[in-house]
């Protein structure tokens, strides 16, 4: 299990480093330059992963796609965890009507047909946004819609902490509610938040991939792991161009590694 965790951690670390250093590493390749005389080229020295159907370097697109998906999945997970911490923490700590309202809110968000909602929200957004802004919008939406499930976990943890002996003792000592929350509750919720953050990461990577496959994720010419998967829709091409599977293999590896990391984080006391 430790080996799996180590391998997963290394893979995620390597990819994150590659993603961060992409512009420095790929100085001669561009993810958006169409070399129209080299469409669907097989892997070669010039294009190690070949070119796509518009003559763009697959390797450059893969590295930039991983960068888009990974970095912004982190941002979305951070946002979702922050909202979950706030909503779940307040609900669990205050209890009563606030808790009921928060639970009702999380139930509502968990029950929402999120794909339909994402489609609707995206349709209502202004059209004139740059590819970079489209990435931010996509992940902001994912983050804002993905807080509900972690919030329920946080609420449950805060609720059990609120009735624990050491909190009762702190209160008996005359500490204010805010001070108890900041000094005693929050530090004990941190492992839960960390676990929720890691659990959310692969979910957001997959959600972006789903949107990308539908053509509703990050806009052209910026690549993402999801938009790169669209080539797999032409399954008949798989036998003649098996290297188009690389984004799918990478996505699977990333998601599996992230789940392995999340599992380890959850297992920690």
């Amino acid at each position: 299990m430790t080996r799996v965790f180590t391998a997963a951690a290394w893979l995620v670390l390597l990819l994150t480093a590659l993603a961060c250093l992409a512009p420095a590493l790929l100085t001669r390749s561009s993810y958006n330059e169409q070399q129209r005389d080299f469409i669907n080229t097989a892997p070669c020295a010039r294009f190690p992963l070949g070119t796509d159907d518009l003559g763009r370097d697959r390797l450059a697109r893969l590295v930039y796609g991983a960068r888009t998906s990974l970095l912004l999945a982190c941002a979305a997970a951070l946002l979702a965890t922050a909202v979950a911490a706030l909503a779940g923490g307040v609900a669990g700590w205050l209890g009563g009507g606030v808790e009921k309202a928060a639970l009702w809110g999380t139930d509502l968000f968990v029950s929402l047909p999120w794909l339909f909602l994402l489609l609707t929200v995206r349709a209502l957004l202004p059209l004139d946004v740059s590819p970079g802004a489209s990435v931010a919008i996509t992940f902001l939406l994912l983050g804002l819609l993905g807080w509900a499930a972690p919030a329920r976990v946080v609420r449950s943890r805060v609720r059990s902490l609120a009735t624990s002996d050491f909190v009762l003792q702190a209160r008996a000592c005359g500490l204010s509610g805010a001070r108890v929350f900041l000094r005693h509750i929050l530090p004990n919720v941190r492992p839960v938040l960390l676990a929720q953050f890691f659990v959310s990461l692969p979910l957001f990577v997959l959600s972006e991939a789903n949107l990308g496959v539908l053509g509703l994720g990050v806009s052209e010419p910026l690549p993402s792991l999801g938009s790169l998967l669209r080539e797999l829709q032409d399954y008949s091409a798989l036998s003649s161009r098996p290297w188009v599977l690389v984004p799918a293999i990478l996505l699977t590896s990333v998601v599996t590694s992230l789940y392995a990391l999340a599992g380890r984080t959850e297992a920690q006391p």
Partner: protein, 533 residues
């Protein structure tokens, strides 16, 4: 007797063999369930397919020659400048239930189709002016139909008008086409059986159609459809996309057919609606003919044909495909790719390129968004190519894919968009495009539903379209339509990009197939199609 009996047996065996061979079952896919079996209110393609296969019409457009031919009518004569048409029916016509098809049925059908309560799209095609449509039966096999105003391409309009029995009970109506509906399992399949009372015979006297039945499998997924075709479970696929064409061409070169540029085209247009909620400077760009022309010159159509369509498309010059033999204006040529000319033209209109960015007269960088429907990879690739082509002249393009309802909402109701890329399905006759070119038309996409023409050239196009619609001789109509094409080419309200080829895959087992450009591409001569066992 000893000699005669084996000979008779041999002949019977031969006939049985022949009938087994020619009574095969053709199978192909419908994309969805037919929405109706009433031929007069058909609006969707699956229903249209059923109508084509089962309905008997007076005149049928020959999809190969692109000329109207007699079907249930043995002859017709158009007079009074396109207001009147006289039909003579073939002798001995019968519906599938054995009842006679007479002029009474034609009159009853006409009455039904023009009943305003029915809201028949078929009837709408004939409606050229206010007033009643009159029918007069002069003999059981002769009928005259008189319209209140001249109807353009009158004979062609009858290709859609299925003659129904005046004794028909809705839901059990007999038909006069080559097949009858035998079984329908919604969401699964539709089975059509040969109409044994169909009027047409082959040159050797044999009863048509050759096929015994047609099974239409309802299947939305194109991958499943192609898998079925490869396994031999269905005999053809219509409207092939270039990728699948290439794959099938590699596997079985004899099965794929490219009939050349279709009548459809892919176009880009800019939003010129005065009330559109877009910035004033953009409105000024989009209403400038020079700007639109420059964009047209900056786009590399040849590359789109080569890269996106793998050579299975041709650069488009206007609203009529080169395949539309009679109506195409041969004087028009597609705009050539010339970024330098585009920049010169833009400079003459006050635009300046500094560095990698184009600025307008006021110093605003030129950027806009182009929307298209999500899920169509061909359109998304075209957009990506346009994005790079326009970047070369300093224009920043944001490409946006939207789900279809959201896209339609923006281009038809809110007008909250800059530019749009979509295909347009065209018919053979210019009258099919009335709604596109009349300034009052709903499909006059760049500025629809105008109360009066916004520009002088749109007023001229309105007049020419009305003139061609009311003229009865093709020479006058052609002259008017040529001029419309010329104006549209000069004013560039639509940037015509390409005409995709009409491609299909047909099993070598299907005999007598002659793919055409016009729908239904593969089964237009269904009565002559046959299967090799």
């Amino acid at each position: 007797m000893r000699r005669v009996l084996p000979a008779l047996l041999w002949q019977a065996a031969l006939m049985l063999g022949l009938s087994a061979q020619e009574a095969g079952e053709l199978r192909f896919c419908l994309r969805a369930d037919p929405k109706t079996f009433d031929p007069q209110i058909v609006e969707d393609e699956p229903s249209e397919t059923v109508r084509y296969l089962t309905g008997g019409v007076l005149i049928r457009l020959n999809r190969s020659t692109q000329k109207p031919e007699p079907e249930l009518a043995s002859s017709w004569h158009i007079s009074e400048n396109g207001r009147r048409i006289d039909f003579h029916l073939r002798p001995g016509l019968q519906f599938s239930d054995g009842s006679a098809l007479t002029a009474d049925d034609v009159a009853w059908t006409m009455k039904r189709v023009f009943d305003p309560a029915l809201h028949s799209p078929v009837g709408d095609a004939f409606r050229s002016g206010p007033g009643e449509v009159e029918t007069r039966i002069s003999a059981p096999d002769a009928i005259t139909v008189r319209f209140p105003a001249p109807v353009s391409a009158l004979a062609l309009q009858f290709d859609q008008l299925v003659i129904q029995s005046h004794r028909a009970v809705q839901g059990q109506a007999p038909v006069a086409g080559p097949f009858v509906v035998a079984e329908y399992k919604p969401g699964n399949y539709l089975l059509l059986r040969r109409n044994t009372r169909y009027w047409r015979r082959a040159a050797d006297g044999r009863q048509l159609p050759y096929l015994g039945s047609i099974r239409l499998d309802i299947q939305q997924n194109r991958d499943v459809e192609s898998l079925w075709f490869r396994r031999g479970q269905i005999q053809f696929i219509g409207k092939l996309d270039p990728e699948l064409y290439e794959v099938l061409a590699r596997e079985s070169p004899a099965s794929v057919h490219d009939a050349g540029p279709s009548l459809d085209w892919v176009q880009l247009w800019f939003n010129q609606v005065p009330s559109a909620p877009i910035a004033a400077n953009r409105k000024a760009w989009f209403t400038s003919t020079a700007f639109r022309r420059a964009i047209s010159w900056a786009i590399n159509r040849e590359d789109i044909c080569r890269v996106v369509y793998h050579g299975h498309a041709k650069p488009a010059a206007g609203p009529v495909s080169v395949s539309n033999r009679f109506w195409f204006n041969a004087a028009l040529k597609p705009d050539e790719h010339s970024p330098s000319r585009a920049l010169e033209l833009l400079a003459s209109d006050g635009f300046r390129k500094r560095g990698d960015t184009l600025f307008d007269r006021a110093g605003t960088p030129v950027e806009f968004s182009i929307v298209t429907n999500s899920g169509n990879r061909l359109h998304e690739r075209i957009l990506a190519m346009i994005q790079q082509d326009l970047a070369a002249i300093g224009i920043r393009v944001h490409t946006v894919t939207l789900d279809f309802p959201s896209l339609i909402e923006r281009i038809t109701r809110t007008y909250d968009y800059d530019a749009c890329l979509l295909p347009l399905m065209a018919g053979l006759d210019p009258s099919d495009q009335m709604n596109v070119w009349l300034s009052s038309g709903a499909e006059h996409q760049w500025n629809p539903r105008q109360t009066k023409p916004a520009t002088a050239w749109e007023a001229e196009v309105d007049a020419l379209m009305r003139a061609q619609a009311s003229a009865s001789d093709d020479k006058t109509r052609k002259a008017a339509w040529d001029r419309v094409q010329q104006i549209v080419h000069e004013q560039v309200p639509f940037i015509f990009l390409i005409n995709p080829d009409a491609m299909c895959a047909i099993s070598p087992k299907l005999r007598n197939a002659a793919p055409a450009l016009v729908w239904p591409q593969v089964f237009w001569n269904v009565e002559r199609l046959a299967l090799t066992p």
